[in-house]
Subunit: 202 residues, 4 copies
Amino acid sequence: MPRIARPEEAAQMRTRLMRAAYAAIAERGFAAVTLQDVATRAGVSKALVLYYFTDKEQLLAAVMERTDQVIRSRAERAMREAAASGPLAQLDAYLDALTIGAREHRDFYRVFLDFMSAGLRSPAIGKSTRSFHEGCAALERETIQRGIAAGVFRRDLIPAEASTVVRALIDGLSIQWLLRGDEPFDQLRRRMREAVLAYLGA
Amino acid sequence: MPRIARPEEAAQMRTRLMRAAYAAIAERGFAAVTLQDVATRAGVSKALVLYYFTDKEQLLAAVMERTDQVIRSRAERAMREAAASGPLAQLDAYLDALTIGAREHRDFYRVFLDFMSAGLRSPAIGKSTRSFHEGCAALERETIQRGIAAGVFRRDLIPAEASTVVRALIDGLSIQWLLRGDEPFDQLRRRMREAVLAYLGA
Amino acid sequence: MPRIARPEEAAQMRTRLMRAAYAAIAERGFAAVTLQDVATRAGVSKALVLYYFTDKEQLLAAVMERTDQVIRSRAERAMREAAASGPLAQLDAYLDALTIGAREHRDFYRVFLDFMSAGLRSPAIGKSTRSFHEGCAALERETIQRGIAAGVFRRDLIPAEASTVVRALIDGLSIQWLLRGDEPFDQLRRRMREAVLAYLGA
Amino acid sequence: MPRIARPEEAAQMRTRLMRAAYAAIAERGFAAVTLQDVATRAGVSKALVLYYFTDKEQLLAAVMERTDQVIRSRAERAMREAAASGPLAQLDAYLDALTIGAREHRDFYRVFLDFMSAGLRSPAIGKSTRSFHEGCAALERETIQRGIAAGVFRRDLIPAEASTVVRALIDGLSIQWLLRGDEPFDQLRRRMREAVLAYLGA
DNA sequence: TATGAATGAGTTTTCATTCAT
DNA sequence: CATGAATGAAAACTCATTCAT
């Protein structure tokens, strides 16, 4: 546990290590990642990883926590910026924020898939994956409510239910795209948008 | 690689080992499963596992392959039996066949989540997860086509696209239910049915 | 331990297994040979090997014992047949009998090298390698004595010493030939003959 | 694969491990040596052995390589020092350098015998045993040439052939001495010297 | 702060050997 | 006689973690 002499540099190093770990998980899979992988990728010694994170589990939990924050705040910002343009534009902005690039999306779902699985056994990690799901659902709920109010979505939707369904579509379609391996990213984006809009009755 | 003297007993033992492995994965996770786990659960020695399966990877690949077969053939049978009762009944039969019990469903998605992830790196396993997805999609496509023809589903659906979406709903909702941990199983079933029907425009 | 119901067939099977073991050692090396190797090569089950030989060590000891007998009796016969033609012809006959073919010689020294090493730790095997060395030395001694008596070899030779040296030449040159891997077999035979004759002062 | 912080200490540890391995091979035989043996003998943990050597094969290859270097450089030095005293003295110096003690010689040929055998299947090890043989042959060749030039050895010797024969005598006699187990070391030395001189026609 | 050195606990895998049929 | 099934013991190797510097 580092005594924080220079807090900023410490935070930088932690970020560097978490990024290295994220990349390592995306490439080799959660279970196969070793501290050596992370250290090598970050250009530091294996021991340093455990200097900044108590143990491997803590590092990995921090990775998911950070991933949750990064992705969700990007989505939030996008929605805020599109708030004035109406529910449909806001929904598009949200979906765009979650699918910014093929490489990024592939890496994210590789990592996320592993974390969801790991979260079933590790409470610390489970907390972050749930936080991500719930955070996203909250954003979706908001847009859905507006859309219902604005009359662009079906009247009979229950926002809490519908947001769960929207989330399921995003996860489910992304996972299939990931497993297929060769499907164009644009097809995923189009399909996701259409499915969500169809479900919402837009 | 045993030369099989009594084929039936050999098949029984293989099944016993695959079941033990399935249970072990559901409980401890794909990556954490050891041959010892499997052996202990099956009540045999560690070495016997490798007598029936060349190595750990082969065993695990066989587990996913068998799981694919078991689940899919159950779904197929259910659909065949409901074929006469119309598309809606057939869809219900299909969904019921995929959600026969809380315990079973939880175990299946725990295992399946892990296998999807593992399949990204191991071709042998990837083959089975894709086979499962494609097999299910084929069944869904069939029902959707009938539903469109019978006028109970939206006209503008493209069966190949719609089956992908239905699959996404089933996977996505199941995963969320799994992660939440405490949600009643009936709620998942109801939500799944409603979401699918809403999407299909029934 | 087989109760010898049909002694001849039992002996045949033992021979078959020893031959298979010999070939396996030549190919894979003494240490790497498994009972499965031997069984597969002999076309029988692994368990049968241990039905005819108490354990692996016994089998291997028997292999060396048999090899000793086969090679030495061949050399003896050759020498007996050449007995009338004088010491030089007898020496040639002896050397020819020990170097009947490249393949055979390579296999024999591969196996013999391993057995010499193994004999350092296993008394049963050591007995056979010593027996081979001593048996050969006896044959050599005999010829040397005749050669000295006939005046074709150096007078100052002490047969017991000289036979040891001749044996060293045969072993040492064969081992070098084996290690080099690509040297023509005829070169070994020529060199061996010349070295022996030079040493004996012929 | 340690990045070396203190190169000297690392080299010391590597040497310590190679010595331990050498002793283990001499005692238990190449094939029977385990990493645990080596570790125990070196007074370190099993894992440390693999910290310094990628795997068991690398360690063993390094042992033979080092043995080759140690023995050959001793022989070279001895010959250099005796260079002024004439070919016969140089030959004696060479033979003395190769037979410095019963214990050492026994260990060396135990190890060497195993390595020769192992070198037939492992190229890395074969390289070292060949290097040893060739290096020794080169030294022998040199002395033989001088001896011929000085008129103390037979005129008709071809140095390249003769060095091979000398090497065969050294190996062959040493192996027999080793197998016999109880023969006085001096007898080996005397016999070796006499056989070599007799062959060279001194 | 940072790291190389060192280790212990665990995992897969191999194989001689036993045993019931 | 012969074999497939089953096992226990041991081996190489991996890796998170600790520690001295």
